[in-house]
C-alpha cells in the first residue's frame, strides 16, 4: 500500500476540468517531484489532493479514501500543504503563523514542536515576534514550510518553494527538505520549476502536461532521457 494513491483524478474550476485522468503515487518516505510547464495543472493537482477544489476519481491516503473529505479532515489525516506563492499570514507574528499550523492539533506538545522547528529554522527564531509580512521572501517560505510541519504531517505538499528565491536560499530550503525526509522519514510531494535542483533530492519524477501525466520514472532514468532533458533540464 502506498502512502498516497491518486487514480483517474479529474478536477478543475467550475465546468472546466483542468486535470483529466491523472494518476500518481507517493510511497512512504519518498520525495516525489512533479515537473511541468506553466499552466500544466501542477497547482491544481496539489489543490485537488488537499481538498481545496471539486474533484472526482479516487484519492487514498494511508489506506483511507480522502476523495470526498473536507480540507480540514485531510489535514487531520496527515497531509499538509505549502501553498504556491507567499502563503503566510502577514499580520500574524512568525510564532503565531507556526501556531496556526497546529490548528488541527489538540495535544500539549505544540510548544515543544514550536521549539523544535525554531531549532531547524534559526532565522525564524530570531524573528519570532516579527510580523510575517515583514520577512524576506525566503524567510516567508520557511515560515510556510515550518507552519505546514506544525500539523505533524506524514505527507508534505510543497508547491514551488523556490519561487522568487535566490539560488542560495533555494539550496538551503531544499537542504532542509531533504534532511527532514532523511532523518524523519517525511514524505514529500514537490512541485518545482527548477528541475535540476528538484531531481537531485527527489527519488521519482512525474511529468505533467495539460492535466495528464506524460512520463514518470526515477530521477536518474528521466535525467538520462534526452528529450526530457532538453525540455525540462535545459541541457
Amino acid at each position: 500500500m502506498s502512502l498516497l494513491e491518486v487514480s483517474t483524478l479529474r478536477a478543475g474550476y467550475g465546468p472546466v476540468n483542468v486535470l483529466v485522468d491523472l494518476n500518481l503515487v507517493v510511497e512512504e518516505g519518498e520525495i516525489v517531484v512533479i515537473l511541468g510547464s506553466n499552466g500544466a495543472g501542477k497547482t491544481t493537482t496539489m489543490r485537488a489532493i488537499s481538498g481545496m477544489i471539486a474533484r472526482s476519481g479516487s484519492i487514498t491516503f494511508a489506506g483511507q479514501s480522502i476523495t470526498k473529505s473536507s480540507p480540514d479532515a485531510i489535514v487531520r489525516a496527515g497531509i499538509a500543504q505549502v501553498p504556491q506563492g507567499r502563503g503566510t499570514f502577514p499580520e500574524l507574528s512568525v510564532e503565531d503563523n507556526l501556531r496556526a499550523g497546529a490548528f488541527v492539533r489538540n495535544d500539549d506538545e505544540i510548544d515543544e514542536d514550536l521549539a523544535h522547528w525554531f531549532e531547524v529554522f534559526p532565522r525564524l527564531r530570531e524573528r519570532r515576534e516579527q510580523r510575517a509580512g515583514s520577512l524576506s521572501g525566503g524567510e516567508q517560505q520557511m515560515v510556510a514550510i515550518a507552519r505546514a510541519l506544525m500539523s505533524r504531517p506524514k505527507l508534505l505538499l510543497c508547491d514551488e518553494p523556490s519561487l522568487g528565491l535566490a539560488p542560495l536560499i533555494t539550496q538551503e530550503l531544499f537542504g532542509i527538505i531533504a534532511s527532514l525526509n532523511r532523518d524523519k522519514g517525511l514524505s514529500v510531494l514537490l512541485v518545482e520549476q527548477n528541475a535540476n535542483l528538484a531531481m537531485k533530492i527527489a527519488r521519482r519524477v512525474y511529468l505533467i502536461e495539460t492535466g495528464r501525466i506524460v512520463a514518470s520514472g526515477s530521477s536518474d532514468e528521466l535525467s538520462a532521457d534526452d528529450s526530457i532533458r532538453k525540455a525540462y533540464l535545459g541541457f
Binding site: S50, M52, S70, P71, D72, I74, V75, R76, A80, Q81, P83, G87, T88, F89, P90, E91, L92, E95, D96, R99, A100, G101, F103, V104, D111, L114, A115, F118, E119, F121, P122, R123, R125, E126, R128, E129, A144, R147, A148, S151, Q171, E172, F174, G175, I176, A178, S179, R182, L197, K200, I201
Partner: protein, 389 residues
C-alpha cells in the same frame, strides 16, 4: 530602535504599569457616574453604546476581513428586542439582553450564508441591502401590531417608581437617584457593563486559537483552509457573534431613551457607517481601536455640537469652520478620516504601535526554546545535502 524605557513582560515594572493604567481607568469610571455632571455622564454612556457597536463590527471586519454595512440592523434587532419585550410584555429590560443576543446571532448566521460565497464589494452590497431594508421592514404595516410602525414603541425602558430610591454602599451611592433623570449613573453602569462584556468576548475570541484562525482567514484564505481551518463554520460563527454583540448596545439605546423608533440614527444605515468610521479611525483589527475611536468621535461631536453658531468656535480655527451652517462635527470627523488614511492607515492604535517603541518597549515573554536571547548565528546549511546539490 532605541527606546527610552525597556520593560520586560511579567516583571515588576510591567505589573506596575498595568496597575497604574488599570487604576486610572477604574478611577475615571468611578468618578464620572458619582461626581460628574449629567451631560458628562451622558457623553460617556453614549460613547459606550458606540464603542460596543464598533467593537462588534471590528470582530467581523477587523479580524476576519468580512465587511458588513448592515450592522445597524443587528443594533436595531437589539433595540427592538428590548422595545417589544418591555413595552408589550412588561418584562424587565435586563432579561432582554440575552434574548437580543440570541435573535441577532441567529439572523447573523443566516446572513453569513451568502457571505460564505461572496467577498469584498459584493458582500458590502448584500449587507448594505440588509441595513437599508431594516428600518423599512420595521415600518411594514403588517408588523405594526408588534413594532408599532413608524411611531415606534414607548415605555420601553426601566420603569422607576415615583418614590426616590437610592442604593447606598457604605455611604457611597453608585447608581445615583433612581428616578427620571437621576437614573443616569445607573444607565452609565449598564452601558459600561455591555462594553466590558463585549470587550471580554472579543478578547476571548481573538486571543484564542479560533482568533488566530480568524486573522488567518482574513490574511490568506487559501492558506487558512490548508491549515485545516473550517472556512464556512468559522466565518458563520464570527458573523453570528458579531451580530449578537451588536444587538447589546441596541438594547442599551432603547433603555436610555425609554423608547425606540425605526428612524433613529443608529438604526438606519448611518449607524453602520458611523460604526465603520469610528472603528477605522481608532484602528481596525485591534481590541482598543474601536474604544479609542468611539471616545474620540463622541468627544468631537460633543465639542462641536454648538458650532453652528459661529461665536462658539474657538478663535484660532474659526476661519476654517465659520462657513458651516450646521454643526461641523461630522464634517470635521470626515476630514480627520481622510487625513488619517494618509498618515495612519491603521488608525490611532496603529500610530501608537508605530511610535511608542521610541518611548517604551515591552519585551514579550519568550515561549518555546531555551536560551531566550536570539542568537545571531546564521542558519547553518546542511553541509552534506548542500554539497550534493
Amino acid at each position: 530602535m532605541k527606546s527610552l524605557v525597556t520593560i520586560h513582560e511579567g516583571r515588576a515594572a510591567n505589573w506596575a504599569l498595568r496597575l497604574v493604567a488599570g487604576a486610572a481607568v477604574i478611577g475615571v469610571m468611578l468618578w464620572v457616574p458619582t461626581h460628574g455632571s449629567n451631560p458628562l455622564i451622558d457623553q460617556f454612556t453614549n460613547a459606550f453604546v458606540l464603542m460596543a457597536a464598533a467593537m462588534s463590527l471590528n470582530l467581523l471586519l477587523g479580524y476576519t476581513g468580512q465587511i458588513s454595512l448592515g450592522h445597524n440592523a443587528f443594533f436595531g434587532i437589539g433595540a427592538y428586542a428590548t422595545g417589544i419585550i418591555v413595552s408589550r410584555w412588561g418584562w424587565s429590560p435586563l432579561v432582554t439582553f440575552p434574548i437580543a443576543f440570541i435573535v441577532a446571532f441567529v439572523i447573523g448566521v443566516l446572513v453569513s450564508l451568502p457571505a460564505l460565497r461572496i467577498k469584498g464589494i459584493y458582500l458590502a452590497l448584500v449587507t448594505l441591502a440588509l441595513g437599508l431594508v431594516f428600518p423599512q421592514f420595521i415600518k411594514w404595516r403588517k408588523l405594526t401590531w408588534l413594532t408599532g410602525g413608524p411611531r415606534g414603541l414607548d415605555n420601553a425602558g426601566f420603569n422607576f417608581s415615583k418614590k426616590r430610591r437610592t442604593y447606598e454602599i457604605f455611604g457611597w451611592n453608585p447608581f445615583g437617584d433612581m428616578r427620571g433623570q437621576g437614573a443616569k449613573p445607573f444607565y452609565f453602569w449598564i452601558a459600561a457593563g455591555v462594553v466590558v462584556i463585549t470587550y471580554l468576548v472579543c478578547r476571548g475570541v481573538v486571543k484564542s486559537r479560533s482568533g488566530r484562525s480568524l486573522i488567518a482567514i482574513r490574511d490568506n484564505e487559501t492558506a487558512a483552509a490548508v491549515m485545516g481551518v473550517n472556512l464556512a463554520g468559522t466565518k458563520a460563527m464570527a458573523f453570528g457573534i458579531s451580530a449578537g454583540l451588536c444587538a447589546l448596545p441596541g438594547c442599551v439605546s432603547t433603555i436610555l431613551t425609554n423608547n425606540v423608533v425605526p428612524d433613529s440614527t443608529f438604526l438606519s444605515i448611518a449607524g453602520s457607517i458611523t460604526f465603520l468610521i469610528v472603528m477605522v479611525i481608532g484602528g481596525a483589527g485591534s481590541l482598543w481601536g474601536p474604544i479609542i475611536g468611539s471616545g474620540l468621535y463622541v468627544f468631537i461631536t460633543q465639542k462641536t455640537g454648538d458650532w453652528s453658531d459661529e461665536k462658539n468656535i474657538p478663535a484660532i480655527i474659526r476661519p476654517f469652520f465659520s462657513w458651516a451652517k450646521t454643526s461641523p462635527g461630522t464634517g470635521i470627523f470626515a476630514v480627520t478620516l481622510i487625513a488619517l488614511m494618509f498618515v495612519a492607515p491603521r488608525g490611532i492604535v496603529g500610530v501608537w504601535h508605530q511610535h511608542s517603541p521610541r518611548l517604551m518597549r515591552i519585551v514579550p515573554r519568550r515561549a518555546g526554546t531555551g536560551t531566550g536571547t536570539g542568537t545571531l548565528v546564521d542558519t547553518p546549511v546542511d553541509d552534506t545535502v548542500a554539497g550534493e546539490l
